[in-house]
């Protein structure tokens, strides 16, 4: 199975990198967008009996290392 994990900053946490990316998009002439937020993406192959077990294992990984839950949220998707 493959696990795909998105880690993003929580709402209310300032994202100066997102702001800088937005400035750069502006300078390229893009219009009609707002609130650029950046984050991280992880993929990993995982051995588990079923999707629920894989989900639980990856959740533990997120809580213990992949995300800093003081400032970040995570979303897990299991495929395969």
């Amino acid at each position: 199975m493959k696990a795909m994990i998105k880690v993003t900053l929580k709402n209310g946490v300032l994202d100066p990198q997102g702001k800088a990316i937005m400035g750069s998009l502006n300078s390229l002439g893009f219009e009609g967008y707002d609130n650029v937020r950046q984050g991280k993406y992880f993929e990993l192959d995982i051995d588990a009996d079923n999707k629920a077990a894989a989900q639980a294992k990856v959740k533990d990984m997120c809580e213990k290392l992949l995300a800093n839950t003081v400032i970040e949220n995570y979303e897990i998707e299991i495929a395969g």
Binding site: V13, L14, P16, Q17, A20, K64, L65, L66, N68, V70, I71
Partner: protein
């Protein structure tokens, strides 16, 4: 004071820290590699600055999960003293020993300059030779020192005197909430700070403002 410095791959401030501890605090310093699972008999553990594991994932995140950290947490739980400077502070917040997080500097730049710190709590093991409100010059050198914590915890930190240092005179270099430069845990035996006091103790450093901090350790 028996002192142990923890060495992780990628840290680079350990020699400066050892010099300050030996010269000013009169400490006997032992160095311990991050793969150790126990500490020598020690009063104080210092995690110096640098770029452990190349700041991969998040600053301090990988070092915070290394084998020696369990022994450091046990040491702190028994009332042992812990000081983390710069990357050491980032490592301590990643372990959860100190509250909050250190995010990318608000202006996105690596800042390397001298700031002014005000001492906000003069009853810790690192500030006992100072008086609340004292101001000292101190260098900073970091990319991720922007202290963040949720509002409720911030209120508690402020109310309980857990803010140890604040950037003063408009010198906040990174956008830290409430100008926070250094904090301690509820018991006061674990301190973390972004600035580098070990680099402001010799006439050759330009100023010696931070000597009293290291003298506090000796007291």
């Amino acid at each position: 004071m028996k002192t142990t410095i923890i060495q992780f791959p990628g840290l680079n401030r350990e020699s400066d820290m050892i010099m300050a501890l030996e010269k000013v605090s009169g400490a006997k310093v032992k160095t311990v590699w991050h793969t150790e699972t126990s500490l020598p008999d020690t009063d104080l553990v210092v995690i110096p600055g640098g770029f452990s594991y190349g700041d991969y994932l998040r600053c301090g995140a990988i070092a915070a999960r290394s084998p020696v950290m369990k022994a450091i947490i046990d040491h702190a739980n028994k009332g042992g003293k812990v000081l983390g400077v710069c990357n050491g502070f980032q490592i301590l917040v990643e372990t959860g020993m100190l509250r909050g997080a250190l995010m990318r500097n608000a202006n996105l730049k690596f800042v390397c300059k001298r700031v002014v710190l005000s001492v906000e709590n003069d009853s810790t093991f690192f500030t006992s030779k100072m008086t609340k409100g004292d101001k000292v010059a101190c260098p900073v050198a970091h990319h991720d020192g922007n202290y963040f914590v949720d509002k409720e915890t911030l209120k508690r930190l402020e109310g309980d005197g857990q803010i140890v240092f604040r950037y003063a005179d408009g010198t906040n270099p990174n956008g830290s909430l409430n100008d926070i430069a250094g904090i301690c845990n509820a018991k006061g035996n674990v301190i973390g700070m972004m600035p580098h006091p070990e680099n402001m103790i010799e006439p050759l450093h330009g100023k010696i403002d931070c000597r009293p901090l290291f003298e506090s350790i000796a007291a």
